[in-house]
Symmetry: C2
Subunit: 549 residues, 2 copies
């Protein structure tokens, strides 16, 4: 098996598969192969030195709420300090917004996603803290007023403050139209927020002095539904140094990511500012979510990488039947599946990152459409596969995988959240079909499939199946919303297997070291795309099970 590390793969992917040097040069902000290698090497070192050695202990410690304060594992303090000092938070953040210097390095999104994979592999619980800040930075940079940007962006981009996304309420999960949190003007231009938010990742913690909460809430005269939701920002500590009227009311006891505090946040008349236009909060939130969704997809990849990093050395040293189990064909199969799927997801995420960069640097409208199409696929396919790979990683360890000592079990416990948050994978599938495919009559998907087809003849059966599935969706699915929704998950999954194969074919074409793992994927795993398409075509058997309205 090709003995490349994730960092090797990321450097290779960035330079040779998505050609970031060429892309950035064309965009007037050239980033050379050596720069890429140096940055990835540094990120890898950060993760290996500060996260990997402590991730299991952090899981055992967890996040602890005591007297309103959330205590995180001790090792996180040094890691977060190094994160700030390394300037990592601002890697892809803007340097300047509305003429204000805000401190970001404006490096490519694809590079940022590569860094995120390495950090998340090192410790997913830790990584969620800085990753959530990115959503806040994005929303503020795009929608906030200049004075707000000046006040908040430098703090968030340096990492001195963290940011949160306060969306979910007990009755409002996938359906944000049900948001009830209230925002009332206080007569000074500010607002008072009252309500309860749940599942707030890193809502309260002891790593920074301050946290800026971005909150969806309703103004007093807001229309019902999603057109009556506005976005607000409320800092934990007000500019005068007093505590704002918001607090963590409890931590969820979760299956995994134990060291990432998942908070119930209580807003008790918290002072907040409106961000962007009244009643347009959902737009801003979707901007945050879209960036976050690619990040969550990367979490799936990162968990596959972590599963492999634990399973491969275990299999090398575990002797059964007179030889290391890494020589047993069925173990080779499991390791190859994790490696191939993780590599496919890794490169697919970079492809989405490159499209983001093309859109920004080259003002390429096609690239915008590609981002839109790839985002739900990266989010859902990579996170579903992350769970699969984590489970395979446990299986390689046998009984040692089920006990908590090796860390293999933690990978599955941690990975299992990613198909759920930032829009469940079911929501992603409906986004892909309902928003992306239907809006342009399948034009962009067909264009993408043509590119895939041209890349490697081994992709032809999957492309043929995807073409049938796309025709089906645009015919049957467009006429019958239930049929479309019943088959959306299978459609997304088929697309993911197909595009994963495309990325591996491109990797093999660029460097023959990747040819064996690509051949394995294309021969053994790619048929799963066609099997999913068979499910789509059998939608009637599912529709027959829908309860009568």
């Amino acid at each position: 098996m090709t003995a490349t590390t994730p960092a090797d793969d990321l450097i290779f992917g960035l330079t040779r598969v998505i050609d970031l040097p060429g892309l950035t040069a064309a965009g007037g902000a050239p980033l050379g192969a050596e720069d890429i290698a140096a940055i990835i090497g540094e990120a890898d070192r950060f993760a290996r030195e500060l996260l990997w050695p402590n991730a299991q202990a952090a899981d055992r410690h967890g996040a602890i709420l005591e007297n309103g304060v959330v205590r995180t594992p001790e090792s996180y303090k040094a890691a977060y300090r190094a994160w700030i000092e390394g300037g990592w938070q601002g890697l892809a953040a803007p340097a300047e917004v509305n003429g204000i210097e805000v401190g970001g390095q404006e490096l490519p999104q694809a590079l940022w996603m590569a860094v995120c994979e390495l950090v998340t592999s090192g410790d997913m619980s830790f990584s969620l803290c800085p990753l959530l800040s990115v959503g806040a930075i994005e929303a503020i940079a795009r929608f906030a007023a200049p004075a707000q940007q000046e006040a908040w962006l430098p703090k968030l981009i340096s990492g001195e403050w963290t940011g949160t996304m306060c969306l979910t309420e007990p009755q409002a999960g996938s359906d944000l139209s049900q948001v009830r949190t209230k925002a009332e003007p206080d007569g000074t231009g500010s607002y008072r927020i009252t309500g309860q938010k749940i599942y707030i990742t890193w809502g309260e913690h002891d790593l920074t002095e301050n946290t800026l909460h971005l909150i969806l809430a309703r103004l007093p005269d807001a229309p019902p539904g999603t057109r009556g939701i506005s976005l607000f920002a409320a800092p934990k500590v007000l500019p005068d140094g007093t505590r704002n009227a918001l607090r963590c009311g409890g931590l969820e006891k979760k299956m995994g990511i134990h060291a990432s505090p998942t908070c119930v946040m209580l807003f008790e008349g918290a002072e907040a500012q409106l961000v962007g236009e009244p009643n347009r909060g959902l737009n801003a939130m979707f901007a945050m979510m879209n960036a976050a969704r690619l990040g969550v997809g990367v979490e799936g990849v990162a968990q596959g990488a972590r599963a492999l990093a634990l399973a491969e050395p275990y299999a090398e040293q575990r002797v059964q039947g007179g030889q290391p189990i890494s020589r047993h064909p069925d173990v080779v199969r499991m390791l190859a599946e994790i490696r191939a799927i993780t590599l496919a997801g890794r490169l697919l995420a970079l492809e989405a990152g490159a499209a983001l960069d093309r859109a920004r640097l080259l003002k390429d409208a096609e690239a915008d459409a590609r981002v839109a199409l790839l985002t739900p696929i990266v989010k859902a396919w990579c996170t579903d596969r992350g769970v699969d790979c984590a489970s395979l990683g446990i299986q390689v360890h046998g009984g040692m995988g089920f006990v908590e000592d090796t860390g293999a079990a933690q990978v599955l416990r941690d990975a299992r959240i990613a198909p759920i948050y930032e829009g469940t994978n079911g929501i992603q599938a409906m986004d892909l079909v309902g928003r992306k495919l239907f809006r342009d009559g399948g034009a962009h998907m067909r264009g993408l499939l043509a590119e895939v087809q041209a890349a490697d003849p081994r992709l032809a059966p999957a492309v043929a199946a995807m073409t049938r599935a796309t025709d089906w969706m645009l015919d049957r699915g467009l006429k019958d919303a239930n049929a479309a929704q019943a088959s959306a998950a299978a459609y997304l999954d088929a697309a993911g297997w197909t595009l994963g194969g495309w990325m591996l074919a491109r990797a093999a074409a660029a460097d023959e070291r990747y040819a064996p793992i690509a051949a394995f994927y294309l021969a053994r795993l790619l048929p799963r795309a066609a099997a999913r398409v068979a499910e789509i075509e059998a939608a009637d058997s599912l529709l027959a099970l829908l309860p009568a309205a």
Copy 2:
């Protein structure tokens, strides 16, 4: 969707699909449909009243080792007492062995497996205690001397004592030839056992006064490897009331089944008796394992049933987008997958149980071969699917599935062990191919596929794929052990999907209430069999990744 409960399905499966009334009547021990319904109803009540209400609290309490004593959850004491009082432990155990009354009811194995599913759904951690005893009963009934049988079987069959299986050592997991535990004759006809066993389920606990440990160990003059392993039995408390020299040295901290104590057992010169012939211990152990493997397969089914029992009511009451999510097509899909797969596994396990019963009651050699063929498939396919279904169950719950409150996360944490223990699923796949398929040149598999083919035309594509795969295995696989092993897991998986479809087709033919869910499975899920066969045929791409010897 057909609103049948697992108990309904089990009664239906036992009476209408595998025709247990007909089978038992032909065997001279008739068991009518009403008897079956009454027993299943009682087992269901046992599980609902004594296990379901306490299973989450039991998980939180866990098993606790204090001063050499393992404390189990308080609720388990009443449940285990009721288990004994209901006579459940002896349901399928022998009534008489070598002319000695030992207290079993000798009811059919298929009925016992149905009872096990209900109990395991109620609380898997609890269920493992009585289920492990069954292996001990089986080994003693088949291999022990009459005096041993008289001393131990009545205690085990009543449930007054529990039994364990002490196989694994740190260096001897899947490869039992590496067992090092020693047994030395003490001159009185007894032996002294010295060594360390790990992963001993319910090795120490507070539910019974005594536990009989069945132990694999080596006699002083034993040849190396598997032909030098003997089986011994050592009670925790000796007949004179003193403690034997064995103890629990630690409990594993596991991902799931927290309330099932997984013990490191230290044998420090423990007094033991030889069971069966010297150096033939592995044979006896395989007898125990084979029965246990079907039981573990049932655990996978039970976890699917538990996932569904939690997800369906949740989906009914969780409103998003103005209606319960149970009406959202993608949620209907997930629930239908859990229901269809779980029902397929349930019926397939009963089919294996019926074969066991035919072999015993009708002395049917064909039935023996069917048991041999179905055992690895039931063990591996049902447990892999149990993990899938548990994961789907979490997904239906969204964020609530990842937090521990609903119990959905516990199902996945508990289910994840089943593909590992009693022979990993990789070992099952090699057993299916290497021991079952190759030994009779595929004769029994071909016979089974012919039955499947005849049952329903919708099964034809899967049977065609399985036939190709079988030909491939008997040609390519027989010539090349690596090729066979590389594709064994895919072969087993394809067989599982195919046989699951067969069982649902038979259910639909017997009662049209099952037609919609069978149609769903046959149209949407059965294509997975052919996708797996495509993997088999692409074995070379995997073999290219095998490390050089």
